[in-house]
C-alpha cells in the first residue's frame, strides 16, 4: 500500500514536534531547574489508509507523541497539520470537532474504562458531545452494532467493565474509538497488556477494521514483532527523536542505524534453530536520562561506532543511501542478518 499512498496528500503532517516537561524545585516558589525532553523534534507524515508504527524502548517519547497530538498534553514547539490545519492552533471548539476524526486507544484496558459506567454508556458517551453523529433514538441500536463489530455480544450493553477480561475490555476501547467514525486512530500500546492468544485476536480485529472503514493508524508499541506485523511504515525512536524511518523491509531487513540494528538483534525470536546463529549486538548500559541527553547524537553513549564528531554534531534524519529511507547516523551502514 504505502507506495501508492505517497502520491496522495498526507492526512497528518507532524513537523518538528517538541514536548518538554518542566522540572521544578521548591513548593511555594517553584523554580524551573530543567526539562525532561520527552519529545525533541519529531517529524512524520501519515497517509490515508496506512499504518505508521512508532517503536522504541520505554522513555523514548512514543506515547508522549500520541498524547501531544491529541492535545492531552500542551505542546512545547512544532506543528501538526491535519489536512492543512495546525492542530495546535485550534480553539477549543475546533479542537472538539477535530477529535471526532482522531481517536485514541490506550494501553491499559483496566484504567481507560470508567468502572462506574456500563459498556453501553462508555460506547455511547462520545455521542453526548458530538450529538449529530447518531440520532438519540438510534444510539442503543448503533452501540449494539459496534459491540457486535468488535466481537462482543451486543447484549452486554448493560454490563460493567469489571465483568470483562483484558482482551474484551480492549475491544470495548476499540468500539468507543470507532463510535465517531474517525479517520485516524492512535493506538498506544493497544495489545501490550494482553496474553499472546488474545493479543492476536485484537491485532486481527484492528486489521479488519482498517480495511472496512479505511482507517489510518499510528501504532505505538515497544514490541518489534507486533509493529512489523501491522505497520506499513515504521519510525524507530530513541530519546525523543526518530532515528530511522522506512517501510517494513527498510527497517527490518536493511536497517542502517546502529540503534535499530542493536534493537533488532536483541529481539528474541520464537525459533530455536536460530539460536546462536544471529549476529547479536549487546548494547552496554542503560538509556541516558531525557532530562540531560548527551550532546550531539543521543545514542553515542551506547554506540560502538561513536567518534568525536558524534559528540559535537547532531546527525540529521536524512536519506543517506538513496534508498528513500532516512536515518540519523553519520556512520550508518547496512548490516546483514541481524534478525
Amino acid at each position: 500500500m504505502s507506495d501508492s499512498a505517497k502520491t496522495t496528500e498526507p492526512l497528518l503532517r507532524v513537523e518538528n514536534l517538541v514536548k518538554w516537561f518542566p522540572i521544578t524545585q521548591g513548593i511555594v516558589f517553584q523554580r524551573h531547574v530543567g526539562d525532561v525532553k520527552a519529545v525533541d523534534g519529531v517529524s512524520f507524515e501519515l497517509y490515508p489508509g496506512e499504518t505508521l508504527g512508532l517503536v522504541g524502548e520505554s522513555g523514548c517519547g512514543k506515547s508522549t507523541v500520541a498524547r501531544t497530538l491529541l492535545r492531552l498534553e500542551q505542546y512545547t514547539g512544532g506543528a501538526a497539520y491535519y489536512k492543512g490545519q495546525d492542530i495546535f492552533q485550534l480553539d477549543p471548539g475546533e479542537m472538539r470537532k477535530l477529535r471526532r476524526n482522531i481517536q485514541i486507544i490506550f494501553q491499559d484496558p483496566y484504567a481507560s474504562l470508567n468502572p462506574r459506567m456500563t459498556v453501553g454508556d462508555i460506547v455511547m458517551e462520545p455521542w453526548e458531545i458530538h450529538s449529530d453523529v447518531v440520532l438519540k433514538s438510534q444510539r442503543r441500536e448503533r452501540a449494539k452494532q459496534l459491540l457486535d463489530r468488535v466481537g462482543l455480544n451486543p447484549d452486554y450493553l448493560n454490563r460493567y467493565p469489571h465483568q470483562f477480561s483484558g482482551g474484551q475490555r480492549q475491544r470495548i476501547g476499540v468500539a468507543r474509538a470507532l463510535a465517531l467514525n474517525p479517520e485516524i486512530i492512535i493506538c498506544d500500546e493497544p495489545v501490550s497488556a494482553l496474553d499472546v492468544s488474545v493479543q492476536a485476536q485484537v491485532i486481527n480485529l484492528l486489521d479488519e477494521l482498517q480495511d472496512e472503514f479505511n482507517l489510518s493508524y499510528i501504532f505505538i508499541a515497544h514490541d518489534l514483532s507486533v509493529v512489523r506485523h501491522i505497520s506499513d511504515r515504521v519510525g524507530v525512536m530513541y530519546l525523543g527523536k526518530i532515528i530511522e524511518m522506512g517501510n517494513d523491509r527498510d527497517i527490518y531487513e536493511h536497517a542502517v542505524h546502529p540503534y535499530t540494528q542493536a534493537l533488532l538483534s536483541a529481539v528474541p525470536l520464537p525459533d530455536p534453530t536460530k539460536r546462536d546463529k544471529r549476529d547479536r549486538i549487546l548494547l552496554e548500559g542503560d538509556l541516558p536520562s531525557p532530562s540531560d541527553p548527551p550532546s550531539g547524537c543521543n545514542f553515542r553513549t551506547r554506540c560502538w561506532k561513536a567518534e568525536d564528531r558524534c559528540a559535537e554534531e547532531e546527525p540529521d534524519l536524512i536519506d543517506r543511501f538513496d534508498h528513500g529511507h532516512p536515518s540519523a547516523c553519520f556512520f550508518a551502514e547496512p548490516r546483514t542478518a541481524v534478525l
Binding site: 496474553d195 499472546v196 493479543q199 514483532s225 527490518y252 536483541a266 520464537p270 539460536r275 549487546l282 542503560d286
Partner: protein, 355 residues
Amino acid sequence: MTADDTSTPDWEQSLDEEVGLDPGAEHLLDVRDLHVEFPTDYGVVNAVNGLSYTLDRGETLAILGESGSGKSVSALAVMGIIDKPGRIPKGEVYLQGVDLLQLPERQLRDIRGERIAMIFQDALTALNPVYSVGWQIAEMYRKHRGTDKKEAFAKAAELMDRVRIPSAKRRIDEYPHQFSGGMRQRVMIAMALALDPDVLIADEPTTALDVTVQAQVMRLLSDLQDETGMGMILITHDLGVVAEVCDNVNVMYAGRVMERAKIHDLYAEPAHPYTLGLMRSIPRADQKGRPLDPIRGQPPNLAAIPSGCEFHPRCNFAEDKCTVEEPPLYRVDEHRRSACHFWEEVLRVGQRQDH
C-alpha cells in the same frame, strides 16, 4: 574470594546432613502431582492441578504459559512461600531426594537461598526500599552463614561485580530506587546467587525490561548458569525468550501441563492444540505478512475449569470425548508428552503447515 572460602563447604555439608539431602539423587528437583488451591468467596480457585516435572543440574527448563496458567503459583509452591489462605492439598517437591513440603519451616528457611533461590518479575517491589542494595545482598551471608558485617559487604560488592553492575563499590550504599530496571534486576540476581544455589527459579525475569536490557540480563543468567552448573527454571509467557535459552519446555494451561518437549521438537512440530495455537498467534519480527491465527475465546476461570480437557472450549480439534474425559499426559516419544486425545492428528497438522 576471602579467607572464609574454606568454611563454605562445611556449612553446606552440615545442611545436607541435617536435612538429609542426597547429592546422588536421580534428579536435582522432582515435582510430583503438585496441586495448589485458593479458597475465595466465589469458590475454590484451582491454580495448579497436578503438575509434575524434573530438573537436572545444568538444565534450563521453561514453564511456559499465559496469565492464570498457574506457572508462577507453582513456583511459589516449590519455594514453600504460598501465602495463606492458599494451600497445597496434594503433591511432593523433592529436592535431591527430600520432600520440601514435609520439612519444618526452620529447615526450609535454611534451604531457601542456600539450595534453591528465586528471582521475581518486578525487582522494585521485591527489593526493600529502605535498605541499601549492599545491605540486602550482604544480609544473605549474615543470616545464612553468620558472616560479619564488614566481610559480608565485601562479598556483596564482589557479587555486584559478578552480575556486571558498573562501579559496584561505589553503588553498594545506594537504594533500589536509584537503580534502573535492568540494574535492579541484576541486584536481585546477585541476591539469588549469593549462596550458590543448586536451583534457580526465575519468574518472568525480563518481562518488565526493554528488549536491549532483556538481552543483557538473559545473557548474564545463562553465563552464570554455565559457571555454576545450577539448574534453572524459567517461567515466562514469551515464546521468543524460551526459544533462545531453554533446553526443555513445559507448556501450562489452567494449572496443568499440556505438553512437555525438548525445545526443538516443540517449535518444529507442536503435539498439543494449545501449543500449536500459541505458535500461530505470535507475530514474528523476522517474517512479514503471515496472517495471525489466534486461539478463539478467553482463558478459563480457574474457579470453574471446563470439564474434560481444560482447553476444549477453545480447541479446533475438540470432539465429544474431550468434554467428558480429561486426557492424561500421553507419551509421544521418549522425551515428549502431550495431554491431548488427538495428539497424533495435531502432530500431523503441525508438520504439514508452516506455522
